[in-house]
């Protein structure tokens, strides 16, 4: 079950060209909405202006070796391992969701474009990774939803209280959960629900938190370069003292997330 490609079984109902067109449309929706979001929130303008002011404040010039090493460090530290999160639970949940989503999307594209029909048998590994990806998103996402969501614990809100910020996580969870259920049980109705959830996920980029996967890395690069060039966003230099007193207020994790 976990090693079968649900899309090739679907090809009798929907021609592969239809599925491929849907994937392309979703991709265009993400790209278009991200561009609109950048224009609407003026985030590109903000980052360019920040870059300009940081350049003026620069205490030391950046050599190309520093640029490369800072870039690698940012990619590894802030993007690939989500080390920005101080809360280890949040970091684990984010890593599960992030890598699960990447696996899910990549294997979906591979299965729909390379193995769309039963005549082109899908390697068991690809189908397995699709299921594992969806499962990883579910584990990380439900962990976040039930245990870590902002304000739930501290403000006394119930887990089912919805706010606009939930659009992304809910549509993501609905997409992967319904994908798994549809893969296990089949059926047109479940497939329709799955497609509805994924259309909401990729079609709501302009209103949801989806775009954070683009602007958070930009913010991480800006922060690391400000540290490397000595401008440090006007922050004082770290004290030249030994770390000997242990953790103070950071002994407790915040109850809000």
């Amino acid at each position: 079950m976990l090693t079968s490609n649900p899309f090739s079984e679907l090809s009798s109902l929907i021609p592969p060209a239809g599925m491929q067109t849907y994937v392309v449309v979703m991709f265009l929706l993400v790209v278009g909405a991200t561009i609109l979001d950048v224009i609407h929130k003026k985030s590109a303008k903000y980052f360019f202006e920040k870059m300009k002011t940081a350049k003026e404040r620069r205490a030391q010039p950046l050599s190309s070796a520093t640029v490369v090493s800072v870039s690698v460090k940012t990619v590894v530290h802030d993007i690939l391992t989500s080390a920005e999160f101080d809360n280890p639970q949040r970091r684990k949940a984010h890593l599960l969701t992030m890598y699960g989503f990447i696996l899910f999307v990549v294997t979906t594209v591979i299965m729909i474009f390379s193995y769309p029909t039963p005549e082109t048998p899908t390697p068991a590994l690809v189908a397995l990774l699709w299921h594992v990806g969806a499962l990883m998103v579910c584990v990380g996402g439900y962990w976040f939803w039930f245990k870590m969501r902002v304000d739930v614990a501290a403000e006394g809100h119930k887990w089912y209280r919805l706010i606009p910020a939930d659009l992304f996580i809910l549509s993501l969870l609905a997409t992967t959960t319904l994908a798994l259920i549809w893969s296990l049980f089949g059926g047109t109705f479940l497939f329709a629900l799955f497609i509805f959830a994924s259309t909401v996920l990729f079609g709501s980029v302009f209103w949801s938190k989806f775009a954070h996967m683009f602007f958070k890395p930009a913010a991480a690069f800006q922060k690391r370069f400000a540290e490397a060039d000595g401008s440090r966003d006007n922050l004082p230099e770290p004290a030249d003292k030994p770390a000997q007193f242990g953790l103070g207020i950071k002994r407790d994790l915040p109850r809000h997330y």
Partner: protein, 156 residues
């Protein structure tokens, strides 16, 4: 100088929400990032600025004495027991300050008041505070001045 949050820096961890004595640092329901919901009620205590692990919180200076172009930023390093301030004036002058905020490991030297004996009425009426005079390490007790030694009237 009420605080504000750089949304691109904030990761919504909630340290500022927990520490704000005025309870005005909240998490935005749309963007899931911190924000100061009521700058008018900000005590300007800088607790959130110091607590933020991402250095995403800054202070907006009042235009009359802190005009545009200045910067006041703090870096609290609790494991080193220090807090550093960098004050940047509008004309480009920079002043750096470094101060200790503890000389003992955090959380170990908390007075265990519950283990003390319950004070009697005489102790409660006395001018001595809890732990005094032992905590003052003055064997002869608190120094006192006889009222006869005071001159009449107001003097400095």
């Amino acid at each position: 100088m009420p605080t504000f949050v750089y949304m691109t820096r904030c990761d919504g961890c909630g340290h500022c929400v927990d520490i704000c004595p005025s309870d005005i640092m909240h998490i935005d329901p749309t963007y899931r990032r911190a924000l100061n919901i009521e700058p008018n009620m900000c005590w300007e205590c800088y607790s959130c600025v110091k607590a933020c692990p991402q250095h995403a919180i800054d202070c907006r200076g009042y235009a009359d004495f802190a005009p545009l172009g200045h910067s006041v930023r703090a870096l609290r390093e609790e494991e080193k027991g220090t807090i550093a301030w960098k004050i940047k004036f509008r004309d480009g002058r920079v002043k750096d300050f470094l101060s200790p905020i503890t000389t003992q490991p955090w959380g170990e030297k908390i007075p265990r008041l519950a283990e003390l004996e319950v004070p009697d009425k005489a102790a409660l009426d006395s001018p001595l505070l809890c732990h005094e005079p032992e905590a003052l390490k003055i064997e002869s007790g608190l120094p006192t001045i006889s009222k006869d030694k005071f001159k009449q009237g107001v003097y400095y």
